[in-house]
């Protein structure tokens, strides 16, 4: 979006980013797998440029993480019943998308 995000939305997102998520518990409960957790941890609460680099280096992996692959559900779906986890993942996904698309928009403008 070209304009600053509405305050209500950005404060909601900030609030959710600051929440602690019991990831290990979510793994034990079968909400997410160990593999998925390590992918999440690799981009969660890390520097922006590192995050972008990680995602761009494994686009297929991150697409599968969120959306699922070959009939296996992604985390958005598998965590659907855990409101706290889903909220956190949606905000994280929004951040990841923003970091990769923003760059693409800049490149597009150069041409």
């Amino acid at each position: 979006m070209s304009l600053d995000p509405p305050t209500y939305l950005s404060s909601l997102q900030n609030n959710i980013r600051a929440r602690p998520i019991p990831w290990e518990g979510a793994v034990r409960a079968g909400t997410i797998t160990d593999d998925q957790l390590s992918k999440i941890k690799a981009v969660d609460k890390v520097r922006r440029d590192l995050r972008k680099q990680t995602v761009e280096g494994d686009l297929d992996g991150y697409r599968a993480l969120f959306l699922g692959v070959d009939g296996k559900a992604g985390v958005v779906e598998s965590a659907a019943r855990r409101a706290d986890v889903v909220q956190y993942l949606l905000v994280l996904l929004g951040d990841l998308l923003e970091s990769i698309y923003f760059q693409r928009t800049l490149r597009w403008k150069d041409h």
Partner: protein, 166 residues
């Protein structure tokens, strides 16, 4: 993201009307969907098929009395309507999508009509919105974004022109 065979499927169930208005999940899901759809240069048939659900959800936000939520919905419309295919879907759903926007305009202008009566004169106390407001408690920023969306629609003038005047 849009290269996935069903990129929107996991998000769509979250868009169902929730019993709890304060539930942030539909709002967050709609934001993510909007980002994915708006950033694909060519709108695929997959995206076009997800749009009606997304527009329906956003239209419920444009009808609430919270200017902050209305503004988010209208901004998401604006991001989506950059593509012609999306503008056509939006127009097909015009009762749902455009209707509430004209209600906002009526309220801002202070024109009486049944839908505007809800608004006019009653300044909705709104802690979330800090911007200045015109008649009927409609924020300037919201008004600007509504007009922006209607302007984007006008690019489909030949298809919608006559109905638009109504």
């Amino acid at each position: 993201m849009s290269e996935h065979p069903k990129p929107f499927q996991p998000f769509l169930p979250f868009l169902s009307p929730s019993s709890n208005q304060e539930d942030p999940i539909p709002l967050l899901a709609s934001t993510v969907l909007t980002t994915i759809i708006a950033s694909s240069t060519n709108l695929s048939s997959k995206a076009t098929s997800a749009l009606p659900r997304l527009f329906s959800y956003l239209s419920t936000l444009t009808k609430v009395s919270d200017g902050g939520l209305q503004d988010i919905a209208v901004l998401e419309y604006s991001a989506l309507l950059r593509s012609k295919a999306a503008r056509e879907v939006f127009w097909e759903q015009r009762k749902e999508t455009v209707g509430p926007l004209t209600d906002i305009l009526r309220a801002a202008a202070g024109v009486g009509s049944d839908s505007a009566a809800l608004w006019s004169g009653v300044a909705v106390p709104n802690a979330r919105s800090t911007e200045g407001s015109l008649g009927g408690g409609v924020g300037l920023q919201l008004l600007y974004h509504v007009l922006l969306v209607l302007w984007q629609l006008s690019f489909e003038g030949t298809a919608i022109g006559e109905d638009f005047d109504e």
